[in-house]
């Protein structure tokens, strides 16, 4: 049976390769920091299942320490020039989009094929894990196809991947860290405390008001923090899970997915989400640094109401 463990070995090998390439890259003044950070992440993927919880915890603290002292830098791996890329794009045309399409097609078609044919009986994949495992297989297919078609130097995919990874930096593990925070919140009983308090504030069994409070919390916390990902574990632990899912019996998939999107409506309305709202105003040389936000509010507010309606209808009316 193919499990996540296989996927972790694949991902761990990628991160290990990136750590080695970082170490060898003298163009990056902080190459030791990069090598240590990606090396520790590789260790987590390759060995995490065999380490003790405490050792995994120390590993997390070490990674956060490196990121916290600003230990990661950006490297500049060799790549093609803009002129060369322009020539290639003319030569290759829209076929360039095809290798990227291999990944979602493999994963989605593979999942459907697996779940709706007798293949399911074989138990080839760990239960509920087939899509992400097929995503990994799709990535390998896409890489092989692109390598055969484009014939780049052997290390090119690793170096190009490292170029993108370095532009993301430590933020690459932020979603995983936030999910871990959500787990610690659950363990410490945060949801019970807020759920109890919210239970007294929200009129009994008024599902619509509870949905509104959940979506409002997602949007407002996102606006304060500039980041819907950070708002999610908080609001899920506070209202989404204890109240909407447990007390009112709502569909968890709808509440999770659309709750996050209610948070994205908040992202459209806050200067704290600088990368999306303030940086483009500067790039476009706007006089009003909030000019982009002003154009987004008219979309964000009605869309937020849509999200409330989608949760109310999808997670409750259609579900029960």
């Amino acid at each position: 049976m193919i499990t996540y463990e296989w996927l972790y070995i694949l991902a761990g090998s990628f991160f290990a390769l990136w750590a080695v390439l970082s170490l060898l890259d003298r163009s990056n003044g902080k190459r030791l920091g990069n090598a240590a950070f990606w090396g520790l992440l590789a260790a987590s993927f390759l060995l995490g299942s065999h380490l003790s919880d405490f050792a995994n915890g120390l590993l997390v603290l070490a990674m956060v320490g490196i990121a916290g002292i600003g230990g990661l830098g950006r490297s500049d791996p060799a790549t093609t020039t803009v002129g060369q890329r322009f020539d290639f794009s003319k030569l290759l045309g829209n076929r360039l989009f095809l290798p990227a399409l291999i990944v979602p097609v493999t994963a989605v078609a593979g999942t459907l094929l697996y779940n709706y044919t007798p293949l399911f009986e074989t138990g080839l994949f760990e239960e509920r894990r087939e899509t992400l495992i097929l995503f990994g297989i799709g990535v390998i297919f896409a890489l092989v196809a692109a390598m055969i078609w484009l014939k780049p130097p052997l290390l090119a995919p690793a170096e190009e991947g490292r170029r993108l990874l370095d532009s993301i930096g430590w933020a690459a593990i932020l979603p995983q860290m936030l999910a871990a925070l959500g787990a610690v919140f659950a363990l410490a009983g945060v949801g019970d405390v807020i759920g109890g308090a919210a239970g007294t504030l929200i009129p009994e069994n008024n599902i619509l008001i509870a949905v509104i409070v959940f979506c409002l919390g997602m949007a407002i916390f996102t606006m304060i923090m500039g980041n819907a990902f950070a708002a999610f574990p908080v609001m899920a632990a506070a209202i989404g899970i204890p109240l909407l899912v447990e007390d009112y019996g709502g569909n968890p998939a709808v509440i999770g997915a659309v709750g996050m999107l209610a948070g994205f409506c908040g992202t459209l309305m806050t200067p704290m989400a600088a990368n999306f709202n303030i940086v483009p105003a500067a790039l476009l040389e706007l006089k009003d640094q909030n000019g982009v936000i002003r154009q987004q509010i008219g979309t964000a507010i009605p869309l937020w109401f849509c999200n409330v309606a989608i949760i109310y209808i999808g997670a409750f009316l259609l579900w029960n």
Partner: protein, 228 residues
């Protein structure tokens, strides 16, 4: 009352992010404080954090797609995306931004969220094209209207990305949702979550799309009396 102390972790996250401390540092401090106030000793907190991080490794698996995207960029993926956008040259501003909104949503939905973006597409391409198209239909724009056209171009990129990307199942936000629900005892699959991004994506297209077209019409009314 003492129970409410465990909520200080939430306060740390909110204040820490708002004050722009390193988010990883903020999250770890919030986790440790929450665990300690929740009655765990220090070693148990580190263990809980390590276990939770380890259990959620699949969220960071998504980065293995970077070599594919990087390789395609090496051979001109960005330039090809530009050519697609440029092919709508000659359209009105409304139609141009509407096509870009759809292009951004669809490419993000199939995992190519970096073919658009502000430095790569909006600044060099979408905003200048929108400006040129608006001036062609409505004549020379005053400074404040020109600013709004540029701002609307950037807004269209954001809306298209935010309400397209979650349809792609192997993306951090979807897997974060999965992780949080799984820790709470509700196992979900990525596809179960990502299909529920579709209704909002459709609403976003209609709401933002009609605002783009209304903006173009309003420019026509405002400018109608002053030019030609």
């Amino acid at each position: 009352m003492a129970d409410y102390l465990v909520l200080s972790g939430i306060l740390i996250v909110v204040v820490g992010f708002a004050l722009r401390f390193n988010p990883l540092l903020v999250v770890v401090v919030a986790a440790i404080v929450t665990g300690l106030l929740g009655g765990l000793d220090f070693v148990a907190v580190i263990e809980a954090l390590g276990k939770a991080f380890n259990d959620n490794r699949y969220i960071s698996v998504t980065w293995i797609i970077l070599p594919v995207i990087g390789l395609l960029e090496r051979y001109g993926l960005q330039q090809r995306a530009r050519a697609v956008i440029e092919s709508v040259r000659g359209a009105t501003m409304g139609k141009l931004l509407l096509v870009y909104l759809l292009f951004r949503q669809v490419t993000a939905a199939i995992g190519m969220k970096d073919v658009g973006g502000h430095p790569q597409a909006v600044r060099p391409l979408v905003a200048p094209m929108a400006e040129a198209a608006a001036e062609k239909s409505h004549g020379d724009l005053p400074e404040d209207e020109r600013e709004k056209v540029k701002a609307m171009s950037a807004a269209t990129d954001n809306v298209g990305l935010f309400f397209g990307e979650d349809i792609f199942f192997a993306i951090a936000s979807i897997l974060l949702i999965q992780g949080v629900f799984e820790s709470a005892g509700y196992p979900l699959t990525p596809l179960q979550l990502s299909v529920w991004a579709i209704p909002t994506a459709i609403c976003a297209f209609f709401i933002h799309g009609s605002r783009i077209l209304a903006f173009d019409r309003r420019l026509g009314r405002v400018m109608g009396g002053t030019t030609r």
